[in-house]
């Protein structure tokens, strides 16, 4: 009897310690609520997974430049952006794979900007993309594919190993968003109304080699295969930006790949005028990303292509969808007004 009591009391202490470990981990993890918001973008999807006709995948050029709210308002297209900062192509692959576990959209729009990167860039960017993903085979895959040399897998399994030193950086925000993170996107779109006109851009360097690396092609092929298997149309795009430069040689390689695989490819860097973009007013960082005004123009332009060329359905007549999106649009418009008030 005494032995059983001892074993039970020790087990109870161990369980309590495990709970404490979980709570400490949650407390110390960055909440990505107001600082480095991008770290919370992927997690926000899980609450809203399902029912989207278009999924955008890619780096900052998708979550800053394409607004699903505008796509719905103008064309009734239901869309979600699964974009993160500096999302590398192997990360896009696993994010796509994960998304297809939750839903089967009609089209996946992939921004090919990441084709230029063949190696993990930095631990910080990896964290922004991976930290808030739910545990799955895809998360294990994305970690293994993304880790830089200095990182280790265990610190993703037990984030306290990475974030323990935040004990003296904790703020009220860490308590406020302890249980529930902050929703700071509109279907994955990050609103920004600042205006920073394009200034002097760095000189366009001549590269020694413009060819994309094998690893990037392999992942692009995997993404194509995944979409084919699920009967999803894969649309390749290069979002509009003035810098980093999207070289003609890059464009030609993607065009050739798209032609060979029967995919649509749109390079929006060359049709800013047609879209109506004015980089003196439509960008928040001097031409790298679009602000709300730019995203509205971009979304309207691309929305018409999605509807007319790719046959994305208009869901505005569906009462259930309309109810959801009307509420979202109210919040979206209110936020836009608020932002404009802050950044007139």
């Amino acid at each position: 009897m005494k032995k059983i009591k001892t074993v039970l009391s020790v087990a109870a202490v161990l369980v309590a310690a495990a709970v404490m470990l979980g709570l400490l981990t949650r407390l110390l993890e960055p909440k990505y609520a107001t600082d480095l918001e991008e770290g919370s973008f992927l997690a926000q999807y899980y609450e809203e997974a399902g029912g989207h006709d278009v999924i955008f995948i890619g780096d900052c050029e998708v979550y800053a430049n394409f607004s699903p709210m505008e796509l719905y308002r103008d064309y009734g297209i239901t869309a979600y952006v699964r974009g993160t900062s500096q999302q590398l192509i192997w990360q896009s692959y696993y994010i796509l794979k994960e998304t297809l576990e939750y839903e089967t959209p009609k089209a996946v729009v992939y921004n090919v900007n990441a084709m230029r990167y063949s190696e993990p860039v930095s631990e910080a960017y990896n964290r922004l993309t991976i930290d808030n993903m739910r545990w799955s085979d895809e998360k294990i895959g994305i970690i293994r594919a993304s880790m830089t040399e200095e990182e280790d897998f265990m610190s993703y399994v037990f984030p306290i190993l990475r974030y323990h030193s935040r004990f003296d950086e904790l703020t009220a925000e860490d308590l406020q968003y302890f249980f529930q993170g902050k929703t700071n996107t509109f279907n994955g779109y990050q609103m920004n109304t600042n205006v920073v006109s394009v200034g002097t851009l760095p000189t366009k360097r001549v590269l020694r080699d413009y060819s994309f690396r094998d690893i990037c092609w392999q992942y692009l092929e995997e993404m194509t295969r995944l979409c084919q298997e699920k009967g999803v149309e894969l649309i390749l795009i290069k979002a509009p930006s003035l810098y980093p430069y999207w070289y003609d040689q890059y464009d030609a390689q993607i065009q050739q790949y798209a032609d060979q695989n029967g995919l649509a490819y749109y390079n929006f860097t060359t049709c800013a005028e047609e879209i109506g973009l004015d980089f003196s007013t439509d960008t928040y960082d001097g031409g790298l990303h679009l602000n709300l005004a730019g995203a509205v123009k971009m979304s309207r332009y691309f929305g018409s292509m999605l509807a007319d060329v790719h046959g994305m359905p208009d869901r505005r007549d569906d009462p259930q969808t309309a109810a959801i999106y009307e509420e979202k649009l109210r919040a979206y418009d209110a936020e836009a007004q608020k932002e404009k008030g802050t950044n007139p």
Partner: protein
Amino acid sequence: MIELLIFLIGLLFYASYGLTGLAYLAAVTVLSYLAGRLQKKLRWLVWPCVVLNVLALLLVKLQAPLGLSFAAPLGISYFTLQVISYHIDIHRGILQPERNFLRYGLFVSYFPHVSMGPIERYETMSRALSRRKICWDGISLGALRAVWGLAKKLIIASRLGVIIGAISADTEAFRGGYALCAMILYSLQLYCDFSGGIDTVLGVSRMLGLTLSENFDAPFLSQSFQEFWRRWHMTLGSWLRQYIYIPLGGNRKGKLRKTVNLLITFLVSGLWHGVDYILWGLFNGIFVAFGKSLQTKWKLLNRLATFLLVSLLWCFFIWPNAGTAMEMLASVFTEWNWLSVPAGIAAMGLTLGDWLVAAAALAALGVYDCRREAVNGWLLRRSPWQRTALLCALGLTVLVFGMYGIGFDAAAFIYSNF
């Protein structure tokens, strides 16, 4: 069965550092085992055994002056001393050669202590193996000690290492007061790092049912250099006493010989650490030989003076060579830049939170060192769940307040470099 398992894990552990090192360790183990068995009949065998081991160790330590460069087998400084003591003890007739190869193999290659000690004599290790018993008390107290060791290393030593690293990296900018601060902080860092590592070794061993020798006994409470060396790296001190100092005549042949013997012993200690530490050994020898005359009747003053002098001599450990170390030591007395030191150190990468955590952990360490017996007795009286709770609390404290992760190598201990 468990001994075989520990032995095999040890070999795997050793192999992970390179097969050359494993081959050397295996050769030393097999040859010294066979030589030990033959030593009873062939007493002269002790000399080749000792000489060959000493030569191997000298080759490692004198690499730079000899113009050589190779990776020394992990823990060679430690297991070589153990093997030498084994042969000498057989020669002296105080030890029977071991018949059981597994047991001898464990003595040489026991993985928890192979890289930083404690340096065991065969008699102690053999007794520990004979009395080996895995029990709840051993597991819980061993785990607590191992985690306490990690706390010393990761909470205190790693933090102080940030400051010492910054100061030692720039010998032009950080001299005088900075150098003195580095030496004092290094005392604490080295103690926490080395004794923390030893705590982990002893804790893991205790969990496996083995009670190994203590290596530290609150050294900063020492009132003289002599006392310090009885409390610091005790197993090395004991080895040097048994196999260098006493054979040289110890204190049995007059004051002058005693002094000379002490100096030789400390020179050997310095050389054991490496060529750049010979001067450090010599200075320690001088302070041990003549330090008694500097003692006052005030205990606290004696302790402070001993701590300060010991700290100053760590200069040889902080800077990359003896020349730079002497230069920085001299700068403490010649360059007066004290006013800039607090602001300079505050900008070296530790936050206020880091300093507070380190100070709190040092205070806890001080209390433990001063009241070790009382704390250990209190721990023994705790029930299993209370010990588990304490272990979990200590573990979580290390997890949160330890300094590890990117940019830190939590598995690297200063003394595993010697």
